[in-house]
């Protein structure tokens, strides 16, 4: 069956995020009381797998091999079964 993983990738808190800082400053100039903005990535990944456990393993393997660089980033994800498309 098909599963959809929503993978959220963020820069580690210790890593400065210049894009977030630029947005925060712009919003402050517009009068919004923004304290901080961090920019991340949201990936929606559809995988085929018999079990949820295997699907989770697949997503973790993808993150470790390519999607996330652990030197600067961290990630989390939520996995849900995807309704089969109607024939």
């Amino acid at each position: 069956m098909k599963w959809c993983a929503k993978v959220e990738i963020m820069l580690k808190p210790s890593v400065l995020d210049p894009k977030g800082k630029a947005m925060q400053k712009s919003l402050q100039k517009l009068g919004y009381p923004t304290e901080d903005i961090r920019v991340g990535k949201l990936l929606e990944i559809v995988v085929t797998s018999d079990t949820q456990k295997k699907a989770i393993k697949q997503i973790q393997a993808m993150a470790d091999q390519m999607l996330v660089n652990p030197v600067i980033e961290e990630y989390s994800f939520a996995l849900e079964p995807l309704e089969e498309e109607e024939q």
């Binding site: 820069l11 210790s14 890593v15 400065l16 210049p18 894009k19 630029a22 091999q65 390519m66 999607l67 660089n69 030197v71 600067i72």
Partner: protein
């Protein structure tokens, strides 16, 4: 000597590198990343600058998964010389052949100008023609040129004298400890965030310190291969 220059979709400095080598009397082949070329035949490998895979995901992240990377890793293990320039440096960190990672420039601008670098370790393949602490000037062109490494990694780089060049003091650069070029522990894989291949001829207005870096590489490899 003959060099292999690895080309990914989006590389854009491969011909500059080939030209730089030919100015020093050396040959090179351009190697498409998907080809089955046996890279062990080359005296050295250059991974040129550019925007491999459009910098999608992270600069160098997708190139680091390309078929050629397994032979590059073997080449490195056997002591082969690899130099990554600009995006090539980013690819080598994503391949984990070099420590650290790259972040977008804090200014969020693409920076393209000459920068001053300070020679930190002269006894390395990139710096044989210089003296320690010498200030050199080479072209610089990147959008994600901020080098990042954590304290533990930095201590290791310092302990093993793996930092080859730092940005000179007056250069406002947010890279960790002003790092501009490093090597692996064995001293055969190098990453340089600057473009020596664009500083080969005074007539182009970017000085000739780039030429001295390339000449240092040749000095180093001639010792190794003779």
């Amino acid at each position: 000597m003959i060099f292999g220059i690895i080309v990914f979709p989006g590389s854009n400095a491969e011909k500059d590198c080939a030209k730089a080598l030919s100015l020093l009397g050396q040959q090179s082949d351009l190697i498409w990343h998907n080809s089955n070329t046996d890279i062990t035949q080359y005296h050295g490998i250059i991974i040129p600058g550019g925007f491999s895979y459009g910098d999608y995901l992270r600069p160098g992240a997708l190139a680091a998964q390309s078929p050629i990377t397994s032979s590059l890793k073997q080449y490195a293990v056997k002591g082969g010389f690899i130099l990554g320039i600009g995006n090539g440096f980013q690819i080598l960190t994503e391949m984990k052949l070099l420590a650290g990672a790259f972040l977008p420039n804090h200014s969020l601008k693409f920076l393209e100008r000459n920068v001053n670098l300070r020679v930190e370790n002269q006894k390395t393949a990139l710096a044989r023609r210089f003296k320690n602490k010498q200030i050199i000037n080479i072209p610089f062109a990147n959008g994600a040129g901020t080098y990042y490494i954590n304290q533990e990694g930095l201590n290791k780089l310092n302990d093993k004298k793996q930092i080859v060049f730092r940005y000179a003091q007056h250069e406002k650069n947010n890279s960790t400890d002003n790092i501009a070029a490093i090597m692996n522990e064995k001293g055969n894989v190098f990453g340089l965030m600057g473009h020596p291949e664009r500083g080969m001829e005074n007539i182009l207005g970017a000085g000739e310190d780039g030429r001295l870096i390339m000449a240092s590489v040749l000095d180093h490899l001639l010792r190794r291969w003779n």
